[in-house]
C-alpha cells in the first residue's frame, strides 16, 4: 500500500521529481566513472607489470635492495639447485644485475646493467634481439630511456663496468632494439644484455641477482634467497593508487553531498508544503509511523528511479569510455607511473557498481528519514490548518 502511494506521490510531483532523480543519477554515474578509472589503472598496471617484469613472483638474492644502489655490486649468488631445474624447464628466468656506466654521445650516465637469457619467453621483454653471432654485444633499452639519451636503434654506445675483482673494463655495445613499454621498472636507467655474456664480463658464472618465476607454485624457502610474492612486489603501485583513490573520494563525497542535499531539501520542503495533506491523511486514519514510512519511501524511490535513469545514459557513456579510454594528454612515464599508457581504460566491475548503488541508497534512506521525524511531532489539527507544530 505504502509503495503504491509513494510511487503515485513522486510521479505526480512531475518535473521536481525528475530533476531530483537526474541529480541522483549523476551521483551514481560520476562515482562509478571515477572509480572505474582507478580500478582500470590498477588492473592495467598490475597486468603490465606481471607481463613485463614480475611474472608470478621473484626470488631475490638476500642482500639485494632495489632502493639501495650500493647493494647491487654484491647482490649475486650461485643459482640454487631447486630453481635451476625450473629455469631449465622454462618456468623461471635468472637475471643478473650490475652497476655500470654508459657514455652516449660522450656524456656519462650511470645505469643498471641487467643480464637475461635471450631465449626466455616468461616475460614480454623482447630478449630475442640480444642474440648476436658477430661477436658483438647486443643490448636492448626502453623507448623512454632511449629518447632521454637520444639513442637510436643500431647505435653503438660505450659501456664501462667493473668485474668481481674490481677491475674496470669497457666495450662498445650495439643497441639492437628499442622496446616500448608502460612498465618503467624494466626501462628506467636500464640496459639489458645477454645473461651468459654478463656472467662472463663479471666473471660470475651461473650467478644471478633475482630469479623470476612463472607462478607462485615455487613459493618455498631457499637459503640465501628471499621470496617476494606479487602482493609485495606490487605494493608500491597498490599504495600509490590507494592514495590517488582517497584523493578522488573528495569528488564522490561532493557528489554524494549533492545527492543528499537534493533529497534532504525535497523532503523538508515536501513536509512543509504537504502539511495539509499530512493532516488529511491523519484525519482519514493513517498513523504517523505510516506517514513517516510513506515520506521516507518517497525519498528512497528517487534513488531507485535514479538507478534506471543513470543506466539509460550511463551505460552507453561508460561503455564509450571503456572503448576509447581517457586520453592522458602527456607521456605518463614522465610522471613516473607504471602501467599508464597514453589512454586510461576504466574497468567497471559488479563490485563497484553494486557498492556504489548500496552506498547511495543507504545515504538517501538516512537523509530521507531524518526530516520525516518532524511528522512524529505534528498535531493533526495543526497540520490541517497548514501549521507546523512547535
Amino acid at each position: 500500500m505504502i509503495l503504491k502511494l509513494a510511487t503515485k506521490n513522486i510521479l505526480g510531483a512531475g518535473l521536481r521529481t525528475w530533476l531530483n532523480i537526474f541529480i541522483l543519477s549523476l551521483s551514481y554515474f560520476v562515482i562509478i566513472a571515477l572509480q572505474g578509472f582507478y580500478v582500470g589503472w590498477q588492473d592495467d598496471a598490475a597486468r603490465e607489470m606481471k607481463n613485463w617484469d614480475l611474472a608470478g613472483g621473484q626470488y631475490w638474492q638476500e642482500t639485494y635492495d632495489p632502493y639501495d644502489p650500493f647493494t647491487l655490486e654484491n647482490s649475486h649468488s650461485i643459482i640454487p639447485e631447486e630453481l635451476q631445474k625450473q629455469i631449465d624447464n622454462g618456468e623461471a628466468i635468472s637475471i643478473l644485475f650490475a652497476p655500470a656506466t654508459i657514455y652516449p654521445d660522450g656524456r656519462m650516465r650511470n645505469i643498471v646493467l641487467k643480464g637475461i637469457d635471450p631465449n626466455q619467453s616468461l616475460i614480454e621483454l623482447p630478449t630475442k634481439y640480444l642474440v648476436n653471432s658477430n661477436n658483438e654485444i647486443n643490448c636492448i633499452i626502453g623507448s623512454g630511456f632511449a629518447d632521454n639519451l637520444n639513442i637510436k636503434q643500431g647505435d653503438y654506445i660505450v659501456l664501462r663496468w667493473r668485474d668481481k675483482n674490481g677491475t674496470y673494463d669497457a666495450r662498445d655495445i650495439k643497441v639492437s632494439h628499442i622496446f616500448s613499454t608502460t612498465v618503467i621498472t624494466v626501462e628506467s636507467n636500464q640496459v639489458w644484455i645477454s645473461l651468459p655474456i654478463l656472467q662472463e664480463m663479471l666473471d660470475l658464472p651461473n650467478e644471478a641477482t633475482i630469479i623470476t618465476i612463472k607462478d607462485e607454485m615455487f613459493d618455498q624457502e631457499i637459503t640465501g634467497w628471499q621470496y617476494k610474492n606479487l602482493d609485495i612486489l606490487l605494493i608500491d603501485l597498490t599504495n600509490m593508487i590507494k592514495a590517488k583513490t582517497i584523493g578522488s573520494s573528495i569528488m564522490y563525497i561532493l557528489m554524494l553531498f549533492l545527492a543528499m542535499l537534493a533529497i534532504f531539501d525535497t523532503q523538508v520542503l515536501a513536509i512543509f508544503r504537504r502539511r495539509k495533506e499530512i493532516g488529511t491523511m491523519m484525519a482519514m486514519g493513517m498513523t504517523r509511523p505510516k506517514i513517516i514510512q510513506l515520506f521516507t519511501l518517497e525519498g528512497i524511490l528517487h534513488a531507485i528511479l535514479a538507478i534506471f535513469m543513470g543506466a539509460v545514459y550511463g551505460i552507453p557513456l561508460l561503455n564509450h569510455f571503456q572503448k576509447v579510454g581517457m586520453q592522458i594528454g602527456m607521456d605518463a612515464k614522465e610522471w613516473g607511473l607504471s602501467g599508464l599508457d597514453d589512454a586510461l581504460y576504466p574497468v567497471y566491475g559488479w563490485k563497484l557498481v553494486l557498492g556504489t548503488i548500496v552506498l547511495v541508497l543507504i545515504t538517501i534512506t538516512v537523509v530521507s528519514f531524518l526530516p520525516t521525524r518532524k511528522i512524529a511531532k505534528l498535531k493533526p489539527t495543526d497540520a490541517l490548518r497548514g501549521k507546523m507544530t512547535k
Binding site: 484525519a283 482519514m284 493533526p380
Partner: protein, 230 residues
C-alpha cells in the same frame, strides 16, 4: 445508546503565560442518524468541538465518548483506527490529495482499511454515483470546480460507510447553487444510509436543512434545538 456523549468538557490552549479556553463546560449527546449543525460566529469553538469528536484533538477536562471510546484515553494508533473505521471528514477547503485522481482520492480511505481491490472498486463506484461524479473519475482536483471538489470530498467521507461524518464549514467556499446541491446530497445520504452528520457552519443556507441546531457562543452552548421536525 448515544453515538457521542460529552460531559462537562473544557478545552484550553496555552497562550504565552496564560491560557485561552475555547470550549467551556460542554454537555451534549448525539444519537445515530442525526443531521446536526453547530452554528456560531468565528472563534466560538465549532471546529475545536468537531476536532475533539473526531479524536483529532483531546479535551483538557471532562469526558468525551465517541462510539464507546473515551477520546482522551485512546493511543495515537487507537484514535487513528477509530477515524479510519468509523469517522469521515469533510473540510471547508476540500483537502483532496492533489496528485491523485478523483477515483484515487475516494479510494484512499479504503486502502487504509486494507480492503481488497475488487471491494474498493465497487465501493468507490457507489460513492461516486451518490455524488454524481462518475464521469470525472480520472480527473485530478485541479481540473474540478469547487462544487465538484466538495462532492469528491463527500464521496471520500462516505465511501467506507462510516457511522459518523464530521463536516467543517462544508459550504463556506461554495456558491448558493453548489451549496444546496451538496446539502441535498448529504441529506440524502443521511436519510438513506442512516449516517450521522455533524456540521460546523455559520452559513444560513445550511440551517434550513438541519434536524438539530446547536449554537455556540464564546465556547459555550447557548442553544440546542430540534428543528424541521427532525
Amino acid at each position: 445508546m448515544a453515538l457521542i456523549k460529552i460531559n462537562e468538557m473544557f478545552k484550553s490552549y496555552p497562550i504565552g503565560k496564560g491560557k485561552f479556553t475555547a470550549l467551556k463546560n460542554i454537555d451534549l449527546k448525539f444519537e445515530k442518524g442525526e443531521f446536526t449543525g453547530i452554528v456560531g460566529p468565528s472563534g466560538s469553538g465549532k471546529t475545536t468541538l468537531l476536532n475533539i469528536i473526531g479524536s483529532l484533538d483531546v479535551q483538557t477536562e471532562g469526558k468525551v465518548e465517541v462510539m464507546g471510546n473515551e477520546v482522551k484515553s485512546l493511543s495515537a494508533k487507537q484514535s487513528s483506527r477509530l477515524r479510519s473505521e468509523h469517522i469521515g471528514f469533510i473540510f471547508q477547503t476540500y483537502n483532496l490529495l492533489p496528485v491523485y485522481t478523483v477515483y484515487e482520492n475516494v479510494e484512499f480511505p479504503l486502502i487504509l482499511l486494507g480492503m481488497s481491490a475488487v471491494e474498493r472498486k465497487k465501493a468507490v463506484s457507489d460513492a461516486l454515483k451518490w455524488v454524481g461524479l462518475t464521469d470525472k473519475i480520472k480527473s485530478r482536483p485541479a481540473q474540478l470546480s469547487g462544487g465538484e471538489c466538495q462532492r469528491v470530498a463527500i464521496a471520500r467521507a462516505i465511501v467506507k460507510k462510516p457511522s459518523l461524518v464530521l463536516a467543517d464549514e462544508p459550504t463556506a467556499n461554495l456558491d448558493a447553487e453548489n451549496s444546496h446541491h451538496i446539502l441535498k446530497t448529504m441529506k440524502k445520504l443521511n436519510e438513506e444510509l442512516g449516517t450521522t452528520f455533524i456540521f460546523s457552519t455559520h452559513d444560513a443556507k445550511v440551517i434550513s436543512y438541519l434536524k438539530r441546531k446547536i449554537t455556540l457562543v464564546d465556547g459555550k452552548v447557548s442553544n440546542d434545538e430540534i428543528i424541521n421536525g427532525g
